[in-house]
Amino acid sequence: MELWHRFAEGHPDAFESLFRQYQRDVYRWIVRIVRDSAAAEDLTVETFWRMYRARARFSPGGNGAAWLRRIATNAALDHLRHAKLQVPLPEDLPADTAPDSALQRETRHAIQRAVAQLSPRLRVVVQLGLVEEEPYDEIADALGISLNAVKIRMFRAVRLLRKKLLEAGITP
């Protein structure tokens, strides 16, 4: 807490300490959304840059880590909005588990394409909620929306995904 106080007061050493303390968490969170390690590096720096610029607006009594995560989520969403649409999700990330080998490569690509074609605001909910299995309340916090709004977005995303997958001949 003391560190956040010092950061809000504009101490450069507090900013560096916060950066070193949270860069891993921020990077991991962003990579879960954008699934691109190079972009995640840039977006981590962008997140801390936004945080640094907004330090005057930070309330020292608030939850700094949650505030930082929200900034990171917005930066990742901005990236998804500006990134080329319909780009399949990269597979070169060090995943916890390998993709199901029984699943045909073409089917896997069709599923990844369907996710990539979702709008960024739906894609982020699917990535975090279904793939990474983050609790809905944490997703709501990170997006700055209500728990109900997360559920509605998830419902819409699943309906759209089902439609796209059925069109591709895959029955979910």
Binding site: F19, P94, L103, T107, F155
Partner: protein
């Protein structure tokens, strides 16, 4: 569609997605990003506050509409 159907669809979709798009919770940044951050801080232009621009515009307007204030200002400088 009732809640049970929705939950069933959600679960089926979760299983399908996880089989095609693996989770990446244990991923680490490949390097310390602080040097990149420092470069960003050093190269970022210093933003000029909007009120500075407003003050400049107001002074410009005064000099334009009341040119007689220019010699008075120069005298006092």
């Amino acid at each position: 569609m009732n809640d049970r159907d929705t939950n069933h669809q959600l679960e089926a979709m979760r299983k399908l997605l996880k089989s095609a798009v693996p989770s990446v919770t244990k991923v680490e940044p490949p390097r310390d990003l602080w040097p990149q951050m420092l470069r960003r801080l050093e190269t970022a232009p210093t933003p000029v506050p909007w009120w500075d621009w407003a003050l400049l515009a107001a002074a410009g307007a005064v000099f334009f509409f009341f040119p007689g204030t220019i010699p008075a200002l120069l005298y006092h400088l």
